[in-house]
C-alpha cells in the first residue's frame, strides 16, 4: 500500500495505473470483498430495520 513510484518524475509522467494499490493487488481484492459484504449487509438490514 502506498506509492508505486520511486520518484516524482515516474509519478507525474505515469502512463498506466497510478492508484496506491498498484503494488498491492491483494489489498484491492480485500477491499472489493468488503465492499460486497457492505452491500449485502445493507440489503439484509433493509428487511430488519424498522
Amino acid at each position: 500500500m502506498g506509492s508505486p513510484f520511486d520518484t516524482a518524475e515516474g509519478y507525474v509522467n505515469a502512463e498506466g495505473a497510478i492508484h496506491s494499490f498498484v503494488g498491492s493487488p491483494a489489498l484491492a481484492t480485500i477491499c472489493l470483498i468488503l465492499s460486497v459484504i457492505i452491500t449485502l449487509w445493507f440489503l439484509y438490514r433493509s428487511f430488519t430495520l424498522h
Binding site: 506509492s3 516524482a8 509519478y11 496506491s20 477491499c31
Partner: protein, 455 residues
C-alpha cells in the same frame, strides 16, 4: 483545401484557450447548485416561523463572500503560499526585481489578484484569471454556507455575515494558500496532499462552526434540563432535495479541483500530479453510494442522517480521491459515513445545537479525510525535491487547517461578537420567529397550524 487547413491551424491557439476557459466557466456555474441545495436544505430544516429568514441568510452569503473575496480573498490565496516558511508575503509593496526562483514564479499570480488588476477586468490579454476567480469565489461561498446551516434560527444576520466573511474570504483561503496551492508550503515542506479540499474547505469550516456554536448556544427548547429535545424540520422533503442538489454541485466542485490549462497534455491536480475525470466519475459516485449506505445503517434508516451520509462519504475520501482504488473508496466512505451519526450524538451529549450536523459531517469527516492520504496514499512525491505524502505531514496540515484556522478564529470572532451583543437575536425574536420579527412577512400566510377539530 490547404488554405482551410492553415486557417484551422491558426484557430488552434484560440480553441485550446477557449476549451480551458469554457471548462471552468461551465463547471463553475454548475457549482452554484451547491448553493441552491444549501438554500433548500437549511430552509427545510428550519421551523416554518424561521423559513424565509433562514433562506435569506443563506442567500446573502453569496454576495457578502463574493464581494469580499473580490476585495481581498483572491489576493490572500495568491499572496500567502510561501509565507511564513519558504518566502515572503506578497503585496503591492513587493519589489519583483528582488525576487528569484519560486518566489518570482509565485509572484506572477499575485499581480493578477488585486481588485484593480487588469487581469480581472475586461481584457484580451488574460482569458483565464477571471474564470479561476469565479471558481475560487464559489469555493469560498460553499465554505461559508457550511457554517450557515449550523447556526440557523437564533443568530443575528449581521453577526453571521461578519463570520461568513472571516471564514469564507480569509480563514479557508489561507488554508488553501498553504495546502491547496502549487507553491503552498504544506506541500513543498511536508508533502501535504488534499485533492478535494477535505481539510481546506470542510475541516476548516466544520471546526469554525464548532467554535461559533460554543458561544452562540442552543436554540430555546433544544435542551431541557440538559436533555436534548427534538426540533423537527418543517419540510424534510425540501431538505432531502436540497442535499441531493448539493451532491450534484459537488461533482462540479471536484471537477474544479482539476487543473486544465491550454498547453497541458493531460489533467493535473493542483499539486501537479496526474488525474482524470474518469477517476472522479468513478470514485465520487462510489463514495456517494457507500456513504449513503453507511449513514443508513449507522443511523438505523434516519432519512436526514442517511442523506447526510452521502456527503460524509464523499468528504471522507476527498483528500485522496485521485489516488484511491475504487474498492478502498467504498470501504473508507462507508466507514466515514458510519462514524458521522455518532458524531451527531456526541454533539447532543455535549449540549451543542448543530442544526444541520455541520461539525460531524464537514468538520470531523473533513479531518479524517485529510489524515487518510497519509496512510492510504503515502509515498507519492508530487514534485521533485518535495517530501513524499506522509502521515505526519497530513496530521500537521489537518491540525493547522481545522484547529488553528477553523476552530480558533471561529471561537474568538464569535466571542467578540457575543461580547458586543451582535451574535444572537433576543429571546423574544427567537420565540416569535425571525420571519415576522425580522422580515415582517410569513412564508405561509394562508396556513393555519391549528389541530383539526372533530365534528
Amino acid at each position: 483545401m490547404e488554405e482551410q487547413a492553415i486557417e484551422g491551424l491558426a484557430a488552434l491557439p484560440f480553441l485550446k484557450l477557449f476549451t480551458a476557459e469554457a471548462y471552468y466557466y461551465i463547471t463553475g456555474v454548475l457549482m452554484l447548485l451547491i448553493h441552491v441545495g444549501f438554500l433548500a436544505y437549511e430552509g427545510g430544516v428550519a421551523r416554518s416561523k424561521n423559513f424565509l429568514a433562514t433562506m435569506l441568510k443563506n442567500l446573502m452569503t453569496v454576495p457578502i463572500v463574493g464581494l469580499t473575496f473580490f476585495f481581498f480573498g483572491f489576493w490572500v490565496y495568491n499572496a500567502f503560499p510561501l509565507w511564513p516558511v519558504t518566502g515572503p508575503l506578497f503585496g503591492p509593496w513587493t519589489d519583483p526585481a528582488s525576487l528569484s526562483g519560486v518566489a518570482s514564479d509565485a509572484y506572477g499570480l499575485v499581480v493578477g489578484s488585486y481588485p484593480w488588476s487588469e487581469a480581472l477586468a475586461p481584457t484580451k490579454s488574460d482569458e483565464l484569471t477571471g474564470v479561476f476567480w469565479m471558481v475560487f469565489a464559489l469555493f469560498a461561498m460553499t465554505t461559508a454556507s457550511i457554517l450557515s446551516g449550523a447556526v440557523i434560527e437564533r443568530i443575528q444576520m449581521g453577526g453571521y455575515y461578519i463570520l461568513a466573511v472571516v471564514l469564507g474570504s480569509f480563514c479557508w483561503v489561507l488554508a488553501a494558500a498553504w495546502g491547496w496551492n502549487y507553491y503552498g508550503w504544506w506541500t513543498t515542506e511536508w508533502g501535504w496532499h488534499d485533492f478535494g479540499c477535505a481539510v481546506v474547505v470542510h475541516g476548516v469550516s466544520g471546526m469554525f462552526a464548532l467554535g461559533v456554536l460554543l458561544n452562540l448556544g442552543p436554540r430555546i427548547g433544544r435542551f431541557v434540563d440538559g436533555k436534548p429535545q427534538p426540533i423537527l424540520p418543517h419540510n424534510i422533503s425540501l431538505t432531502l432535495i436540497g442535499l441531493f442538489l448539493i451532491f450534484i454541485g459537488f461533482f462540479f466542485f471536484l471537477a474544479d479541483c482539476v487543473i486544465f490549462l491550454p498547453d497541458y497534455t493531460g489533467l493535473t491536480t493542483i499539486y501537479g500530479g496526474p488525474v482524470t475525470l474518469a477517476t472522479l466519475a468513478m470514485n465520487v459516485t462510489l463514495a456517494l453510494s457507500a456513504g449513503l449506505i453507511g449513514g443508513y445503517l449507522s443511523s438505523k434508516a434516519d432519512p436526514f442522517l442517511t442523506i447526510s451520509g452521502g456527503l460524509a462519504g464523499i468528504i471522507t475520501v476527498a483528500g485522496g480521491l485521485d489516488l484511491y482504488h475504487p474498492g478502498l473508496v467504498i470501504v473508507l466512505a462507508f466507514a466515514g459515513a458510519w462514524i458521522m451519526p455518532k458524531g451527531v450524538a456526541m454533539m447532543e451529549k455535549f449540549g451543542i445545537d448543530d442544526v444541520v450536523g455541520a461539525v460531524p459531517v464537514h468538520g470531523i469527516t473533513g479531518m479524517i479525510g485529510g489524515i487518510l492520504p497519509g496512510i492510504f496514499a503515502a509515498g507519492y512525491i508530487q514534485q521533485a525535491g518535495q517530501p513524499p505524502i506522509n502521515l505526519l505531514g497530513q496530521l500537521g496540515g489537518t491540525f493547522i487547517g481545522a484547529i488553528l484556522l477553523g476552530f480558533v478564529p471561529g471561537y474568538l470572532v464569535s466571542l467578540l461578537l457575543k461580547s458586543l451583543g451582535l451574535l444572537r437575536v433576543s429571546p423574544e425574536f427567537e420565540e416569535e420567529g425571525l420571519d415576522l420579527k425580522e422580515l415582517g412577512v410569513s412564508a405561509y400566510p394562508e396556513q393555519t397550524f391549528a389541530a383539526p377539530v372533530k365534528a
